[in-house]
Every structure is written in structure tokens, then in C-alpha cells.
């Protein structure tokens, strides 16, 4: 196992990017569900 030399800022930046992917996925699914599900679901 080699130790990564990445800085904490780099790791934090990557975490933010993946968090953005999560939030984006949630928003897309919410938008789709509002369109596809019947009004009284």
C-alpha cells in the first residue's frame, strides 16, 4: 500500500465534487418524479 501524497485541500475538493454529483442526482430524480408521478401519489 503506497501512501498518497495528495494534500488535504485536494481531497476536500474531490469530496465536494462527489457531493455535487449526489445532490445533482437527487435533484434530477425529484424533477423526474414531479413530472412522472400522478398528482395524488
Amino acid at each position: 500500500m503506497s501512501k498518497s501524497n495528495r494534500s488535504w485541500w485536494s481531497r476536500f475538493g474531490e469530496l465536494l465534487i462527489w457531493l455535487a454529483v449526489s445532490v445533482g442526482t437527487a435533484l434530477i430524480m425529484i424533477a423526474l418524479s414531479e413530472r412522472l408521478l400522478p398528482a395524488n401519489f
Partner: protein, 215 residues
């Protein structure tokens, strides 16, 4: 190897997003409805009495000048058996049902087909079928336990033209595109029909609970 690691992180992120979506759908939407219900409750309490005529056996005829706009509070509904108490709004569109259960309106300005009927508006306490639609899974899920109602259970309506108690008579499960509920044969009695998606967490069918006015 680097690609696999990246792809794995991507899948974890998407999975987390799906969990966020489920949490929002099941609980987050309910916060919006709870907030709207607080506002509607106050609006209902402040609303003036609605002009109406009392007929025999507790039946009323609400004045035609009562024409609430989409999303306005129209009456309060309690179903003790399933611990339900909410203000019902006018209209059954997406925006209206986010606030609470909705009363099926007559087609006029603000209400377009198929979310309205060409028939005369029927309010609780009037002869005819008054239809109320509500969410089963999202936005506070007011009709989550509607399937637990049995013949004889009571549904109480508090309106600005009187209080009315209805007794459940039957339950029915119909296809989701069925419109028969909105086109009843000419009624000689006052009834309400509560409708929602069925089963829970699905829109494959529609559940309808009929209740008849008991003077």
C-alpha cells in the same frame, strides 16, 4: 485500476443521491405540507360564513357565489379512525394537493379538464357526490391509511356553512385512468368520495372510499 476507483466513487455518489431523493420524497415533502396547513388553518378560521340554505334532514344548498380560487381553504376534514385532520383546499392539481387534500372542482377559470368536472359543484352537506383527493405517499401522505377505513367509520366535515358527519359505506379499487367517480348517476343523497393512489408507494391503481351523510 484508476478508472475502476473513479467509477466506484461515482456509483457511491449516485447511490447517496438516490437516498437523498427517497428522504425528500417520504419526509421532506411533508414539511412543506405541514407549513402550508398552518397557513390554511388560519385562513379557514378567519374566513366568513358562507351563504347557504338549509333544506330538510340537515341537507344544505351552498350559495353559488361561493367560488374559491385554486389552493384556497374550503373546509376541514377529520377521520378519527386514521387520526387524520387537515384543511381541504379547492382543486386537485399538483400545486393544490401539495398543500393538503383537494376538493374536486367544477370547470371554470383556474380549473382545466381533466382536473375538474362539467357537472355542478357539490359541497359537503349538499345532495350529490363531493370528491376529495389526497396524497398517499408524499406531501404528508394524508390518505396513507385510507385503506383501513371500514363501513360504519365516521368522516367529519367542518365547513363555514355547517358541520356534517359521513359514514363510510364501501371501498373500491379502480384503474388509475378511471373517471367514473367524477360522473356519478344523479344522486338523491349526500355523499363524499375520498380518492388516492393504491397500493402504498405505487400509482398502479386508485383507491376510493365512499361515505354517506348521516343527519
Amino acid at each position: 485500476m484508476r478508472f475502476l476507483r473513479l467509477f466506484g466513487k461515482f456509483l457511491i455518489s449516485v447511490g447517496l443521491g438516490i437516498l437523498m431523493f427517497v428522504a425528500w420524497t417520504l419526509w421532506g415533502t411533508g414539511l412543506y405540507t405541514a407549513d402550508q396547513q398552518r397557513i390554511l388553518d388560519q385562513a379557514f378560521a378567519d374566513a366568513p360564513d358562507v351563504r347557504h340554505e338549509r333544506l330538510s334532514d340537515g341537507i344544505v344548498e351552498v350559495d353559488e357565489s361561493f367560488r374559491p380560487k385554486p389552493g384556497e381553504a374550503v373546509f376541514k376534514m377529520r377521520i378519527p379512525k386514521i387520526d387524520h385532520e387537515q384543511v381541504v383546499v379547492q382543486g386537485v392539481g399538483t400545486e393544490e394537493l401539495r398543500k393538503g387534500p383537494g376538493h374536486f372542482p367544477t370547470c371554470r377559470a383556474g380549473f382545466e379538464r381533466p382536473l375538474c368536472t362539467e357537472l355542478d359543484e357539490v359541497w359537503p352537506g349538499e345532495i350529490g357526490r363531493s370528491i376529495i383527493s389526497g396524497h398517499r405517499t408524499t406531501y404528508g401522505a394524508p390518505f396513507y391509511s385510507l385503506d383501513r377505513l371500514q363501513p360504519g367509520d365516521h368522516i367529519e366535515i367542518e365547513a363555514n356553512w355547517g358541520d356534517f358527519t359521513y359514514e363510510v359505506t364501501e371501498k373500491e379499487i379502480v384503474p388509475p385512468d378511471s373517471t367514473d367517480i367524477a360522473n356519478p348517476a344523479a344522486s338523491t343523497f349526500a355523499e363524499i368520495a375520498l380518492t388516492t393512489c393504491n397500493p402504498r408507494f405505487s400509482a398502479a391503481e386508485r383507491l376510493i372510499v365512499y361515505a354517506r351523510y348521516v343527519p
